[in-house]
């Protein structure tokens, strides 16, 4: 009884969170992938139903007649069977050929967007276990970097160039496109397009070590004017802190271990080992989607990152309580 209840409840639970993002496309390529998936699904349903129908038919109806009719062979029955088998083989071949054609068409469709002139080019460099994103611009002063969260304008083609600094990773935002591997020493790319505003979750889809599961990425598709405002804000160097704790926090940052790995534009901090923190206060998550970006989590992350995400590259630092508070105020104020 309880087993039956479980069998009923489990699929119902799966339905709670809505459709998985692969089947809830947010852009033209994801829509192509989803329709190809549905085509495969329905063909599989029909084939399965047919196979089961024949099986049931064989077991239930023909058992009695077949046992006596095997020898001697009747030429007419033999011909009927041969026609039946030929039709089945023909149908299978046609179905498979259809799937091959659909596959090739989908593949071409995914690539054809690459012909469109990209409005934004983002160079995403994957490393253990986070994503560095540089928004490219022909004018060097207009380029900027961010990490783990990227914004794209709705309705425009966005070129994402994928690179890796250490091992293989894979860029996968199922609501927008398929997977694209990041391979060290090899540059690849994919073109994204979102057709409605929203937040699309992505993750690394190629096992890359200890914290592979905590290597997440968020893509925000914004209306063009919102995107332009965001981009203009990201291009600016960090604002000068005004409050007393924030000023002290900046001193702690610049004289402590933070400065060895992180960049804050507009200050002497310019290292590239860790994520760019110039506008870290404007992001929603910390540690590549591991915890929410709140002052509490930030403090915990600075003090003991290894218990939040064991094995990650950020070392624990111990600050006196006042310094830590000031540092939290400064870093979370980098909007």
């Amino acid at each position: 009884m309880s087993r039956i209840a479980l069998a009923v409840v489990t699929p119902a639970l799966a339905a709670c969170s809505g459709r998985p993002p692969v089947l809830d496309p947010g852009g033209p390529q994801a829509a192509r992938i989803a329709s190809y998936w549905w085509l495969n699904f329905w063909i599989a349903v029909v084939v399965l139903a047919a196979v089961i129908a024949f099986l049931v038919d064989t077991v239930v109806r023909r058992r009695a007649t077949l046992t006596t009719a095997i020898v001697p062979v009747e030429p007419r029955a033999e011909r009927r069977v041969m026609i039946g088998v030929s039709v089945a083989v023909g149908l299978t071949a046609v179905t498979l050929l259809g799937l091959v054609i659909a596959d090739a068409t989908t593949g071409r469709g995914l690539r054809s967007l690459s012909g469109e002139e990209p409005a934004v080019t983002i160079e995403v460099t994957a490393q253990q276990w986070w994503w560095d994103a540089e928004y490219w611009d022909p004018v060097p002063s207009q380029r900027f970097r961010t990490a783990n969260e990227i914004h794209i304008p709705v309705g425009r083609a966005v070129l994402v160039k994928t690179k890796s600094l250490d091992v293989n990773h894979s860029f996968w935002v199922p609501g927008l496109h398929g997977k694209q591997d990041h391979i060290p020493g090899h540059n690849s790319s994919l073109t994204l397009k979102a057709d409605h505003p929203g937040r699309f979750a992505g993750r690394c889809a190629e096992f890359c070590g200890l914290q592979h599961a905590h290597m997440q990425l968020l893509v925000f598709a914004d209306p063009p004017e919102v995107f332009e405002a965001w981009r203009a804000a990201q291009r600016r160097p960090a604002a000068e802190p005004t409050s007393q704790p924030a000023l002290r926090g900046r001193d702690v940052f610049m004289s402590g271990p933070c400065v060895l790995c992180h960049t804050v534009l507009g200050t002497p901090a310019g290292a590239r080992l860790g994520p760019d923190l110039t506008h870290v206060g404007s992001r929603t998550m910390l540690a590549a989607g591991t915890v929410l970006n709140t002052p509490g989590h930030l403090g915990g992350w600075i003090t003991d990152p290894q218990s939040i995400k064991p094995g990650n590259r950020m070392p624990a630092s111990s600050f006196p309580a006042d310094d830590l508070q000031a540092l939290i105020v400064y870093v979370s104020g980098l909007k």
Binding site: D166, S255, G256, P257, V259, L260, C261, L273, D304, Q306, S307, P310, G311, P315, A316, S317
Partner: protein
């Protein structure tokens, strides 16, 4: 009897191998220098007490030595010391040590700096990473056990690995 002894010896060796790759992500490494990197005067009334030598915590941990190797590049040690052959700074893979080759000496060099160019990294590089760097620097001149020293580079480089090096006789 001999067989039993051989098996026992084998098991003991296996135990050593367990330690070799152990990853200790968050631990408080022994700190002996001053965290702010200041250098106390060595002139002490009645003569200085002999400094207690701290044994490097990662001398037998291959993973930590590998981390030290990564940090050696990441923190730009190779900017001055190249890949151990020296450049603007002294070579690290030979047997000549101006300030001593013991783990404690190298720790102090990194944390407090040395005259003529070596900056003080105390308060910047966390202690755990300093000890990882110490272990790696010692592996460059073959002072660690062979199976602990890094066996290869992550990048293409035409030089022998740390594992393949033999320590030079001290001069």
């Amino acid at each position: 009897m001999k067989a039993v002894a051989a098996v026992a010896l084998g098991l003991v060796l296996l135990l050593a191998a367990c330690e070799r790759e152990q990853r200790r992500f968050s631990e408080v490494a022994p700190s002996s220098g001053r965290p702010d990197g200041t250098r106390p005067s060595e002139i002490t009334a009645g003569g200085a007490a002999p400094a207690a030598m701290v044994r490097g915590p990662y001398e037998e941990n291959a993973w930590a030595v590998g981390e030290g190797k990564r940090l050696y590049q990441a923190y730009n040690c190779n900017g001055c010391h190249a890949n151990g052959g020296g450049g603007m700074g002294p070579a690290l893979m030979d047997a000549k040590w101006i300030y001593g080759s013991e783990p404690q000496n190298i720790y102090t060099t990194i944390v407090e700096g040395r005259p003529n160019g070596m900056p003080a990294f105390g308060g910047k590089v966390p202690d755990q990473q300093v000890w990882q760097l110490v272990a790696y620097v010692r592996s460059m001149s073959g002072q660690l056990r062979g199976d602990v020293r890094p066996g290869r580079d992550d990048h293409m480089r035409a030089k022998e690995s740390e594992m393949a090096r033999r320590p030079e006789p001290a001069k």
